[in-house]
């Protein structure tokens, strides 16, 4: 692998506090040097010009569904990671709701095997309970040894107090976070969108915001009861103001609670469903405007640790159904950076450095991914190079994902990825 010298760019690396013109040298899959423009001299390098571009640590998505094993018609690890690379991501964490459920070290290793053809680094997140049935814990120690970076029953929330408490205790011992899809499914049976005015108008049963905040509060209560400073609860795709407030309170009380917000939850509200557009159907659902605004505020004030896409590909024939029958989920890897820049930076003036932190530095820290989300010397040579002012049209038909289920098709976004480098290899180059 030839060393790469990225020259002339504006380097933003929140982990090292750099936000200035810097050149970057990558050797053997690691960051070898970061220095002032024109300072790095090294023979036999491939030189990449990053003039007028931002050079940043590759993006990290702690919440994607790559659908393998079992549902290769929706996505494969190869196609999902190709989409991730095109979106500037160099690390994705794959959820365990595959077929079979990833509740074993074998499946965890299978997902990381070179035969899967991943373009970038995939870290599996393993099931917290066997088969994600919410009854018996999986083997956290051996799952971690096989490469799992967290445990969750994503999509099938852990409702029982006793089993959730056991999961928190066992995960703390293995030094793994427990990720919870916070939805009290006892309140959401038959529901396909957010409860409220729009749901009533459309004649759809609505999920109350309490179904999310109630479970977050329950989890926080259990976390407090466990009284082990190593226990770490991570709230997946948080979408309501009440749940965010619960996270804030827990942190003030010294508990280790982190949370992620998906781009669609800070960009869209429930009105985006329009006339039953299934590409605006996901779980948690698009919420009311006040919740969307709360997500933006939480991101700006630092209450939100990271942006995660919840990339959830589905085949066209699955989404082209009656709204209530269509599966939940939208793709998100290729629109995340553009949406974040367009909404958070352009509209809300959040500095680009904060956006990089939310999409790279902080998600890597939340899941303890050492050497990721940073361009400090010795870190993985994971780099995204993007044009922060370039406007482009996001077209689902051009997506590298197998599935095209996105509500952002045709949107004009600002901030375009021009190159993605994973462990020293160029894995995406805008043509």
């Amino acid at each position: 692998m030839k060393p790469i010298l990225i020259r002339g760019g504006h380097l933003i690396d929140p982990a090292s506090g750099i936000d200035m013109p810097r050149d970057l040298l990558l050797i053997d899959g690691k960051v070898a040097s970061v220095d002032a423009p024109e300072k790095i001299k090294h023979a036999g390098v491939e030189i990449l010009s990053a003039k007028d571009l931002v050079v940043a640590p590759g993006l990290v998505d702690v919440h994607v569904h790559l659908r393998e094993p079992g549902q290769g018609y929706k996505e494969t690890i190869a196609t999902g990671t190709a989409a991730a690379a095109a979106g500037g991501f160099t690390t994705v964490c794959a959820m365990p709701n595959t077929i079979p459920v990833n509740d074993s070290p074998e499946t965890t290793r299978w997902m990381q095997a070179p035969e899967r053809g991943a373009a970038i680094r995939v870290f599996p997140i393993a099931a917290a309970t066997r088969g994600s049935m919410g009854e018996a814990l999986t083997e956290y120690g051996s799952l971690k040894a096989a490469g799992a970076v967290a445990v969750t029953d994503d999509g099938k929330p852990i409702l029982g107090d006793a089993i959730m408490r056991e999961a928190l205790i066992a995960a703390a011992r293995a030094n793994l976070p427990v990720i919870q899809h916070a939805e009290d499914t006892r309140l959401t049976g038959g529901c396909s969108m957010n409860a409220g005015r729009v749901a009533f108008r459309l004649g759809l049963r609505g999920m109350p915001t309490e179904a999310e905040s109630g479970l977050v509060e329950r989890d926080i209560r259990l976390l407090a009861e466990v009284k082990d400073s190593r226990t770490h609860l991570h709230v997946a795709h948080l979408s309501t103001r009440a749940a965010l407030d619960a996270v804030r309170r827990a942190r003030r009380n010294g508990l280790r609670v982190t949370c992620e917000v998906a781009p669609h939850h800070f960009v869209l509200n429930e009105e985006a469903i329009g006339n039953y557009d299934t590409s605006a159907k996901m779980n948690p659902p698009l919420r009311a405007e006040l919740d969307r605004v709360a997500m933006v505020e939480g991101i700006i004030d630092g209450s939100v640790d990271c942006i995660a896409t919840d990339h959830a590909p589905h085949a066209a024939h699955e989404k082209e159904q009656e709204f209530e029958r269509a599966p939940n989920g939208i793709t998100g890897l290729e629109s995340a950076l553009g949406l974040s820049i367009s909404i958070l930076h352009v509209r809300h003036k959040l500095p680009l450095g904060r956006i990089i932190a939310l999409l790279s530095t902080q998600p890597a820290a939340v899941l303890g991914l050492k050497g990721r989300g940073s361009l400090a010397v010795g870190s993985a040579a994971d780099v995204v190079i993007f044009d922060p002012v370039k406007k482009w049209i996001f077209k689902a038909s051009k997506s590298k994902s197998k599935s095209k289920n996105t509500p952002f098709d045709g949107w004009s976004l600002q901030g375009q990825v021009s190159m993605t480098i994973s462990e020293g290899r160029v894995v995406y180059h805008k043509s």
Partner: protein
């Protein structure tokens, strides 16, 4: 950030407030999926056409859509709606074919989309859809491009019912033939019962205020959440049925959908005591009001036989008006010269 980059960012931002796309709708403009699709002019022309067709010599009327093909696609059971759509199509000379869930490939798992495409390939020029899923007509309209008439979708809407109810109300109130935004000014209409599950309630509550009416929704909170008042303008909630009746010229009773009550804390005896349309209550609080019911009725629950069959009842008129209105809707759907894909809709705004 370099200063020049920031300046560039600023400039671009001010030039581009909108980032979402505009999509072109494939929905045929003569589809009726929601009463909100209809302008006042549309309402006028539908009611005028219903009058004309109803009075027309059946032998002349029979030539209007002679041998044109209308499909009835019914995923739910229906007596009134299905029969009246069918009679209406036949009265215009059209050929009808009925596809129902129990006796078709729907049972084998064929999707709504594929069923629609199949019907179109078989020559259907218009599909009348009844579905247990809210919004299903939008999917069928988008995938077939055909005019779709919504014959009731889930808990969403039942537009032809609201139109026949409107015709019934206008005839009773003798408002004349002209439809304006004030035709029903000063008229209060109470809709009582299971509003939450009712597509009839939604269509009527969205339609009648457009002509100046005031709609009072009445029922216990499990069946009538507060958010119902936000459906549109001129809709209020009054939980006391007697008080609602006292202000109303028209009262619509809705069926208690017993099959949907599982899990709701509802005592039927208490319900009857508070919300049943019985002779005593009607004669005390609304002795002149028109009493309506979209059917099917559960006699002795939401309405007593004395009221349903009494002098104030318009229930049989509603059924009769159904055929006239549905003739107009089918006529309109099949005589359009508007090109397909003519309507554009905007994406939702942020």
């Amino acid at each position: 950030m370099p200063a020049e980059m920031s300046a560039k960012t600023q400039r671009r931002k001010s030039l581009t407030p909108q980032i979402q796309s505009t999509t072109i709708s494939l929905i045929h403009p003569d589809s009726i999926l929601s009463v909100t699709d209809l302008t006042i002019d549309d309402l006028q022309s539908i009611l005028d056409l219903a009058n004309l067709l109803e009075k027309e010599d059946p032998l002349t009327r029979d030539r209007r859509l002679f041998k044109r093909r209308v499909s009835l696609l019914f995923y739910e059971s229906s007596t009134r709606t299905r029969t009246s759509f069918e009679l209406a199509a036949k009265a215009l000379g059209a050929d009808t074919s009925l596809v129902s869930a129990q006796s078709s490939s729907i049972e084998k798992g064929e999707s709504l989309r594929d069923t629609g495409i199949t019907l179109r390939a078989l020559g259907a020029e218009c599909i009348i859809l009844r579905s247990p899923y809210s919004g299903a007509p939008y999917l069928l309209a988008e995938t077939t491009g055909l005019p779709i008439l919504n014959a009731g979708d889930g808990m969403h809407e039942h537009p032809s019912q609201a139109l026949l109810d409107l015709r019934t109300i206008l005839a009773h109130l003798k408002t004349g033939l002209k439809i304006t935004e004030t035709t029903l000014k000063g008229v209060t209409i109470t809709i009582c019962g299971d509003i939450f599950h009712s597509r009839v309630a939604r269509s009527n509550a969205l339609l009648l205020p457009r002509l100046g009416a005031r709609v009072v929704l009445c029922g216990p909170s499990p069946l009538l959440p507060e958010v119902a008042a936000e459906l549109g303008p001129n809709i209020v909630i009054e939980r006391d049925f007697d008080r609602a009746l006292a202000q109303s010229q028209v009262v619509m009773m809705l069926r208690i959908q017993a099959e949907r009550l599982a899990g709701l804390a509802l005592d039927l005896e208490e319900y009857k005591a508070r919300y049943q349309a019985n002779s005593e209550r009607i004669s005390t609080h609304a002795p002149k009001a028109l009493v309506m019911h979209p059917g099917p009725m559960i006699r002795g629950l939401e309405i007593t036989s004395e009221v349903a069959d009494g002098p104030q009842s318009a229930i049989a008129d509603q059924v009769r008006n159904g055929v006239a209105i549905r003739m107009a809707l089918i006529m309109r759907a099949l005589s359009s010269d508007v090109p397909r894909h003519a309507k554009a809709r905007k994406g939702t705004s942020l």
